[in-house]
């Protein structure tokens, strides 16, 4: 007779076998047996959030900065519904999360019991898969399967809903690796053929105006993928641009790097995307913030798309060569094949792409990220630049909220390593950055973790400062405070005749006093001349800090692809703002 365990014990045995060291969560009635069991498992530490959404984003931050899945534990009903935003965020940005939720006892399911909701129904469209476990003997298998689904193929969130009676019931535990025999993302194993590699290399060799367009898939494929990417880019001598999520895969200060592309991307990156004759998409998904109007997207180019998710290929943009593969595996094979046959490619091909590079240099001369600085008032771009200069020597991790500050951070903070940049790109979740920073700091205890925030976003999950203080996590919340929902205000200025409807926050809290009331350190910078000293002071404080950086209230985020325009017609700055056509207003 095999030893029997309670459902709650099985949960922890599975977590231990999956080498889980942290759980982010919040207790409640339907999940109490699991919380009761926590004390018996010293290798697993629980981080108590102040709201399940915060726990979810913290788990995301943990996952994205460590490469391991983030674990979330919530109760039934409101616990589960509060986690939905974080699950959806993780789904959009391909972050591996395993969410365990309590559920009312099986005999009460469907009776509108206290704190009951249809958790698997609600989370079905925002998870890769979810399970309601109605038999304790299924629990071990389901939990291990959940980890496998979350972490293989294109990563993403999963949820396991466990009724309270199942947590008490006794059942068998077993752990066998590779429980999932079926195809996870359309193809289980894809052997990369030499034929595919040769087609790829042939396109590289024929191109005189190539560009690499890389995305979050490179980061998700592991640090090795970034190494291979760097090798390939240097072997070819081609220019490279990155999506928001891909930043850090390639060094941000390298001369071959054109900066981020897309709606607020650089002039050179967007023009190169528009005019290229070969676009090499590695691990990006032709998102609408990148393509703009698809009919006019990069009209003259051949396109290669490497993606682990077959449904990403051909979804928005038709491509000429589609390769379903993990980035790291593919680049490894490609580089090997490329080196065998093209010994002196870089020097022999230099002539071919020299005209392209000189065109790119001309675009670069526009210095599209420039802004008019001030010595009276802190410009938000200047604040990010100073933060970068004063923290670049450390291995700094940056999270953001969503809005103008997020774009300024992406434009002006240069990342040199993968997994250092955590931002909500797909779902665009305001309130992501602060709890994400908590997860990042948990995974990287001795590193500097900064949340570049906006004052509106950060208030959405401000309660998590209490979590940071409880666990002594010295995260730095660097608020670019312009008193507006900046991006909303910018769109209202450009598209809605400056009708700033509800985008100004009157009665903001005093962030310094707020910091003090949470038991952390509050700081404020009001003028450019005190900024550097204050940033240095912030970095040196070994406690959580809220830094209230008062910035220009009217600053807009440029460059910008105005609505309705293709990539080669960007607005570079305020002096170039033009009346946007009615058709264009639909687009922004």
């Amino acid at each position: 007779m095999p030893k029997l365990f309670t459902g709650a014990e099985i949960v922890f045995k599975a977590l231990e076998d999956q080498k889980v060291d942290y759980i982010f969560g919040y207790p409640g009635g339907a999940v109490l047996p699991i919380y009761d069991e926590l004390k018996n498992h010293k290798s697993i530490k629980h981080i108590l959030a102040r709201h399940e959404q915060g726990a979810g984003h913290a788990a995301e931050g943990y996952a994205r900065s460590s490469g391991k899945p983030g674990i979330l534990l919530v109760t039934s009903g409101p616990g589960a519904t509060n986690a939905v935003t974080a699950l959806t965020d993780a789904y959009m940005d391909s972050v591996p999360l395993v969410c365990i939720s309590g559920q009312v006892p099986t005999h009460l399911i469907g009776t509108d019991a206290f704190q009951e909701c249809d958790t698997t129904g609600i989370t079905r469209p925002c998870t890769k898969h979810n399970w309601l476990v109605k038999d304790v003997n299924d629990l071990a298998r389901v939990l291990h399967l959940a980890f496998e689904v979350a972490t293989t193929g294109r990563p993403g969130p999963v949820l396991v809903d466990i009724p309270k009676d199942i947590q008490f019931k006794k059942g068998k535990y077993s752990f066998s690796k590779s429980t999932l025999k079926k195809k996870l993302n359309g193809r289980a194993t894809h052997k990369i053929s030499n034929n595919e590699l040769d087609k790829f290399i042939d396109l590289l060799k024929k191109s005189s105006k190539p560009i690499f367009y890389t995305g979050g898939g490179v980061i998700n494929s592991g640090p090795q993928a970034s190494e291979y990417l760097r090798e390939l880019v240097s072997l070819t001598g081609f220019p490279i641009t990155s999506t928001l999520q891909g930043l850090g895969a390639y060094p941000g200060d390298d001369p071959q790097f054109l900066g981020m592309l897309g709606m607020h991307g650089t002039f050179e990156a967007n023009n190169a995307m528009h005019d290229c004759d070969l676009m090499i998409n590695i691990g990006a998904r032709f998102d609408d913030r990148i393509t703009g109007k698809v009919d006019e997207f990069s009209p003259g180019s051949k396109k290669i798309h490497v993606d682990i998710d077959p449904s990403s290929i051909g979804k928005n943009i038709k491509v000429d060569l589609a390769i379903v593969s993990d980035v790291s595996e593919f680049l490894k094979s490609l580089i090997k094949r490329f080196k065998e046959k093209n010994k002196n490619f870089l020097s022999s091909n230099k002539q071919k792409t020299s005209k392209w590079w000189s065109t790119i240099e001309k675009w670069r001369e526009k210095k599209s990220l420039n802004f008019i600085n001030s010595n009276k008032i802190i410009k938000p771009q200047h604040a990010v630049q100073r933060l970068y200069e004063l923290t670049k020597d450390k291995d700094t991790f940056v999270t953001t909220e969503v809005g103008q500050h997020q774009m300024w951070a992406a434009q002006h903070y240069k990342f040199n390593k993968p997994n250092r940049w955590m931002t909500s790109g797909g779902l665009g979740t305001m309130g992501y950055g602060l709890p994400a920073a908590i997860g990042v700091q948990i995974a990287n205890p001795d590193k500097l973790v900064v949340d570049i925030a906006g004052e509106a976003s950060v208030l959405m999950t401000m309660q998590e400062m209490s979590t940071a203080v409880q666990y002594k996590l010295p995260i730095k919340i660097f608020i670019l405070n312009n008193e507006y929902m900046g991006m909303v205000r910018q769109w209202q200025e450009l598209l809605h005749e400056k009708n700033y409807s509800e985008s100004y926050t009157a009665a903001l809290p005093d962030f310094v006093k707020l910091a003090e009331s949470y038991g952390c350190v509050g700081m404020r910078a009001k003028t450019p001349d005190e900024l550097d000293e204050k940033i240095k002071e912030m970095v040196n404080i070994d406690r959580p800090v809220i830094f209230d950086c008062l910035v220009d209230k009217a600053e807009n985020c440029f460059p910008m692809i105005p609505s309705g325009k293709p990539h080669n017609q960007m607005i570079l700055g305020p002096e170039e703002e033009e009346e946007i056509s009615d058709e264009g207003k639909i687009l922004v």
Partner: protein
């Protein structure tokens, strides 16, 4: 153009739509139909008809036949998205009108009709494998199997002969010849 100020790009050109029959083999587990239907509704694909039943009692495999309409790009997405679902084993996609594939729908018609009328109705249904399932002196229930359009037309013809209730399945499909889909 009406003044619209949405934050997204305008739609591009929409291609020609085609009707496809998509066959999906799935684990027959709780919620699997909701996953398939949710994928269609969530991504804005449409389901014209749907037929589901377990076809392998031992392995608990159900076969779902979905009739849908979309541009070639949308049809491709439907296939790829379906394949990503964990309980989905395989997906087959047939274009309506393909030669080596059979489609059938089944319909039950309840008619108010006397004996004389009943003979007339049987005649109309003759081409569609009619089976009389129930008969009284005032009414009868007739079963036919045919293509969707044929049943559509039949229902119109029967209307004037006393049709009072119609029940139809979605289409089911199978390939011709000894080959099966793997």
């Amino acid at each position: 153009m009406a003044k619209s100020k949405s934050a997204y790009s305008v739609p591009g050109k929409i291609g020609k739509t085609e009707r496809h029959i998509i066959v999906v083999w799935v684990d027959n587990e709780a919620g699997v139909l909701a996953r398939i239907a949710g994928l269609f509704s969530g991504r804005g694909y449409n389901i014209e008809s749907l037929a589901v039943a377990e076809v392998d009692k031992k392995k608990h495999i159900s076969r779902i036949t979905i009739v849908t309409e979309g541009t070639p790009q949308v049809i491709e997405q439907i296939n790829l998205q379906l394949k990503k679902l964990v309980p989905v084993h395989k997906v087959a996609d047939f274009k309506r009108g393909e030669k080596d594939i059979l489609f059938r729908e089944l319909a039950l018609f309840k008619m108010l009709a006397n004996a004389k009328k009943q003979e007339k109705i049987k005649k109309i249904c003759k081409k569609f494998n009619p089976v009389v399932l129930d008969k009284t002196n005032k009414s009868f229930v007739i079963q036919v199997t045919a293509l969707r359009a044929e049943i559509d037309k039949l229902a119109i013809d029967l209307k004037r002969l006393g049709l009072i209730s119609t029940s139809r399945t979605g289409a089911v499909a199978m390939t011709k010849g000894p080959k099966i889909f793997n």
